[in-house]
Amino acid sequence: MNLEIIKSIFSVMNILMMNVGVASGIIIGALPGLNIIFALAVLLPLTFGMGSETGMFLLLGAYIGATYGGSISAILINTPGTPAACATMVDGYPLAQQGRAGDALKTALIGSTFGGIVSCIALLFFAPLIAKIALQITSPEYFALCVFGLTAVIGLSQGKVLKGVIMAMIGLFLSTVGIDSATGTQRFMFGNMQLLAGLKIVTVMLGTFALSEVLFKSEQIVSKKTDKKDIIKFKKSTIKLRDILKYWKTMIKSSIMGVMIGAIPGTGAAIAAMLSYNEARRSSKKPEEFGHGSIEGVLAPETGNNAVSGATLIPLLTLGIPGDAAVAVLLGALMMQGITPGAALFSGGGYWVYAIMGGLLLINVFMLMQGLLFVRIFANITRVPAIMLIPCIMILCTVGAFAINNALFDVLIMMAFGLFGYVMIKFDFPIAPLTIGLVLGNLCETNLRRALMLSEGNPLVFISRPISAVILAIAFIMLFMPMIKDLFKKRKAAYVAK
């Protein structure tokens, strides 16, 4: 079995796709406004013609690459390519202004690789342990976990909790389109046989994440909001590896923080990066350098945000619950290949799980190699004009949606969701809960149905079982925490005003 996994990981096609994924991820991540989810959504259609592992490695490569890619534009043009690179910008851009863009990029690369590798090791170590516990879980607990996954992502939409709940519910509702797998009843098909298998996650994601972005970009272009920023010229790095590795304590601390945060659904790389940055500043010998171009200030957030990448796969692979929208796309890709993540994936030797873990480790090494060799090329990506992206994304989305089933119907569905996504974002509705709702819908309904049937329709089954009750309690605390915090803030402000 072990030999089979190693053989599979090191096959020529898999190695090629890992590299293609990393390069595409870095390029997309480096383009301001295009994030990790976008990278995964547009690359997903490419995986249809590939073997399941090859496709997965392409997406994992893009996932890791895009997380690092966001730092390139943050350092060179003071605009984070992805939200996870916000903290990198604080010290990365001042370093670039001082003529040390190469040093900042190299530091970000080393930090990202280190964080990524630590994260893989954590995944390798913790996932099997959690999977063993997960095997004991039954329907009520699974339903509670689905609710937890949903509320965790809704909690991320700061100040928009109610809108987040609405979007998650729309996602759950959309997941019911097609044949009900338990009863064979047709639901919301409107006589269209193409909806028999339901709405395809890829089509919805291409529309809501990629096509809506095209519409926003067009709006920005005509209102001249994409004026050229001062792009700092790339300068070769002069910093030595040992100068970076002398901050090993920061690297280890940031990695651990990234892993811990990443393993909790609904947190994400941006939070890990910010916390790592703050901790590095707090414990630094030269805190006064932070904000003015500190190497440690670039190293900490980059290590932290990439340390999230492997850890987010822990709840996905063990429980089948995606921690954020990007991982939800990965889950969608796995399900399209006929693989249902969860504790059962570990049984029978866990071929799939260990292939993913091994692949992830290798992908981080490839990212380091590509980053060292092609950093100048990646730096030039930030110069691509936004206007060029619009027709390119249009072509990619159309062809990608068509490739799912070779049908125009999917293209039209994708376009409908593009408009829906644009309108909803315009009205301040977060899109990530919709994705999670759509992905978790089936699992949620199946387990709710099963739990209610076993308990003869008694809804108290969810709170009478201790594990499910605890999970639900945490889920609701996470959901209402931002509201409670707001209330306390307002009371405090009123008290101070008095």
Binding site: L46, F48, G49, L162, V165, I166, M169, I170, L172, F173, T176, D180, A182, T183, G184, T185, Q186, R187, F188, M189, F190, L211, V214, L215, F216, S218, E219, I221, V222, S223, P385, I387, M388, I390, P391, C392, M394, I395, L396, T398, V399, F402, A403, N406, L408, V411, L412, M415, G418, L419, Y422, F427, D428, C444, E445, L448, R449, L452, M453, G457
Partner: protein, 167 residues
Amino acid sequence: MSMEVKKVKYDIIVMMILMIVCVLFYFIFIPGQIRLSGAWNGNTSFSSRTFPYISVITIFIVSSISLIKSIVTIKKHKSEISLEAKAKYTFNKKTIYHFFMPFIVYLIILAYGILFMKIGYIFATLIVPPILLFVLGCKRWQIYSYVYGFAAIMYLIFKIVLKVPMP
């Protein structure tokens, strides 16, 4: 702050629309589109309609809460709104152009999707992207050629490597 008030006003409209949609689904679409029959659906506490009903009812409740919240906010800022109403909002060619641009782009993309099926990838790609770039005000010919280059690469990847039967 006036921007905030504007947002709240929009929220009221959106929430009301959502509530109407929920009512339509509850009374018309769910019973009409999910026909219950057989032992599976008839005799259990959880039919094929249950989950959609739960979703729709939750959306309705949350929209109502959001609506009430927005109305309370509007009432709090009443004086500001009356001031805002007095201020004249000027519509000129530019603002209308900016507002409609995403929708114009959307129609072009929709046309691309239809042409893609009717006349095929190559011809649709030759015609639509230049129109899109022109509408967006692109004057650099290099960008037109880069887009064609990208389209050619996509064609090679999907048609030859992935064997997708492109129209």
